[in-house]
């Protein structure tokens, strides 16, 4: 079963075509990496999946994105974003809210829990899933801004998981973290794929090789190559992919 499928997906910013007709099939419960040099449209592609592109007034989408066979553009965008969670390049927990409230906010708003006790449970569950519980269980009322960068990013993962998404989008989640924190996130990705589908955008082929089952190489808004990670890293069919993987292209 595919978690996400795109059909001839095109994205314009004003008059500029930045995603040029992408067809992708992302199997469920796998880690799917989208890699490519900066500016190739990776982040844009990701934001077309959960309709976050709509925040950008000049962005226009054509084609379709299907979540388990159902077009996300025919669903309520709020439901789409609950089912497709997202973690960003710069950790963005709400700095003025407590660790607890950062997670409880979405839970309360989307009516996932009925009472305080259930919320408590979900907060604990998602912090454990994000491997952050042991570090913060005694200071849930602390402001999120007091956490380290790596902790903030795991809080963002916990916040997304709390909504029980089917897919988790990660937009270069380790780009702004130190190597130790980055490694923790990568280990986490390994754990999480047992339960949900992860689409991770990265500009580092090495990271794609470490964490993903499938990989797609995007170049200038076009899908150059896609397939099982081992196969692509061992024997890229396309010359561009090979150049990128061997570091001969930024």
């Amino acid at each position: 079963m595919n978690a996400i499928e795109t059909e001839n997906l095109k994205v314009w910013y004003g008059d500029k075509l930045v995603i040029k007709g992408v067809n992708l099939e992302i199997p469920e419960k796998t880690v799917f990496a989208i890699m490519g040099p900066s500016g190739c449209g990776k982040s844009t592609l990701l934001r077309a999946f959960n309709r976050l592109l709509e925040l950008n007034e000049i962005a226009r989408v054509e084609g379709d994105v299907k979540l388990y066979g159902k077009s996300v553009y025919e669903m309520d965008e709020v439901v789409v974003r609950r089912k497709i969670g997202m973690v960003f390049q710069i950790p963005n927990p709400f700095p003025h809210m407590s660790i607890y409230d950062n997670i409880a906010l979405g839970v309360r708003y989307n009516k996932i829990a009925k009472n305080r006790k259930e919320i408590d449970k979900i907060v604990e569950w998602s912090l454990k899933k994000a491997a952050l519980w042991e570090e913060v269980k005694d200071r849930l009322k602390d402001k999120a801004s007091n956490l380290s960068g790596g902790q903030m990013q795991r809080l963002c993962i916990a916040r997304a998981l709390a909504l029980r998404p089917e897919v988790l989008l990660m937009d270069e989640p380790t780009a702004n973290l130190d190597p130790v924190s980055a490694k923790k996130i990568e280990e986490l990705i390994f754990e999480l794929k047992k339960e949900l589908t992860i689409v991770i955008v990265t500009h580092s082929p090495a990271q794609a090789a470490r964490v993903s089952d499938y990989v797609a190489f995007l170049y200038l808004g076009e899908l150059v190559e896609v397939g099982k990670t081992e196969e692509i890293f061992e024997k890229p069919k396309n010359e561009l992919t090979e150049k990128y993987l061997t570091g001969r292209m930024g």
């Binding site: 969670g85 710069i90 003025h96 708003y109 997304a160």
Partner: protein, 276 residues
């Protein structure tokens, strides 16, 4: 030679800074030097009493102080909700036709001669009702206040990095909730704008000239009746040929300055910024 030029530039910078700041301190000094003796002499009665007859001692400026308070509160009640919503709207829809038009209009309104605001309100309210009134004064002040609050609100919201906006929407929140979160992150800027607006109108004279009318021998009589204000009182007293009126004007100036500082200093000192 280069070092010398560098030093010269520094001296020039310091000198011009002093030149700019000096008048401010001179004003503060003047107001204190002339106003304080009046306040000391008049005592509590200066704050609570009513305006005396020409040549008949100091009396007090109670009705003017209450008037300023009433006008400011009324103006805030009228102007604030609309202004904050306008600021939110133009921050949320910056590229919409209305959003762009609002922003331009607000900037014009901010620099608009306030005496014209007074004339406008006189035309739509004072003439039809046949009387100066607290309502008319407050409306004029509300019009003066709104662009400040709206522009500051908009700017404060825009200063919140977009990753928090995206993060909030990605959690499946709707726009109203997202705006609420962003507003609480931007609260320092928003509150600063509100207080600047309030401080600005508490000290305004021109919008009140043709609207509030002035009333200094009796206290507040209703929103449809003329009302006094401290700056308006100063303006009116200074034009009179009486010695005691001039003294009262100095005392009132000091009171006005203290009101202004009382609104302004706490914000600067107390409000905590959200650490991003």
């Amino acid at each position: 030679m280069r070092r010398f030029k560098d030093h010269l530039f520094l001296v020039y910078l310091v000198a011009s800074t002093i030149f700019v700041v000096l008048p401010l301190f001179h004003i503060l000094f003047c107001v204190f030097a002339n106003g304080l003796p009046v306040l000391m002499k008049g005592g509590m009665n200066f704050l609570t009493g009513v305006l005396p007859a020409p040549g008949d001692g100091l009396g007090g400026i109670g009705p003017a102080i209450v008037g300023t308070l009433v006008l400011t509160v009324l103006a805030t009640l009228m102007g604030l909700p609309i202004a904050v919503l306008t600021g939110i709207f133009s921050a949320e829809y910056p590229n919409s036709l209305i959003g762009r038009a609002t922003r331009t209009l607000l900037l014009i309104m901010m620099e608009f001669p306030t005496i014209l605001v007074g004339l406008f309100v006189m035309n739509i309210l004072v003439i039809p009702l046949g009387s100066y009134s607290a309502l008319a004064g407050a409306l004029a002040l509300a019009i003066v206040m709104m662009p400040y609050v709206a522009v500051y609100t908009e700017q404060a919201l825009k200063d919140v990095p977009s990753r928090y906006r995206e993060g909030a929407f990605a959690l499946g929140l709707r726009r109203r909730t997202v705006v609420k979160i962003l507003m609480s992150m931007a609260r320092k800027g928003v509150v600063t704008g509100i207080l600047i607006g309030i401080a600005k109108v508490a000290g305004e004279t021109a919008p009140l000239l043709f609207t509030a009318g002035g009333s200094y021998t009796v206290y507040f009589q209703g929103i449809n009746r003329p009302i006094g204000a401290v700056p308006l009182l100063i303006y009116q007293l200074v034009q009179q040929p009486y010695q005691n009126y001039h003294e009262i004007a100095w005392g009132a100036s000091l009171v006005l300055m203290l009101i202004f500082l009382a609104i302004f200093l706490p914000i600067r000192l107390s409000l905590k910024e959200v650490k991003l």
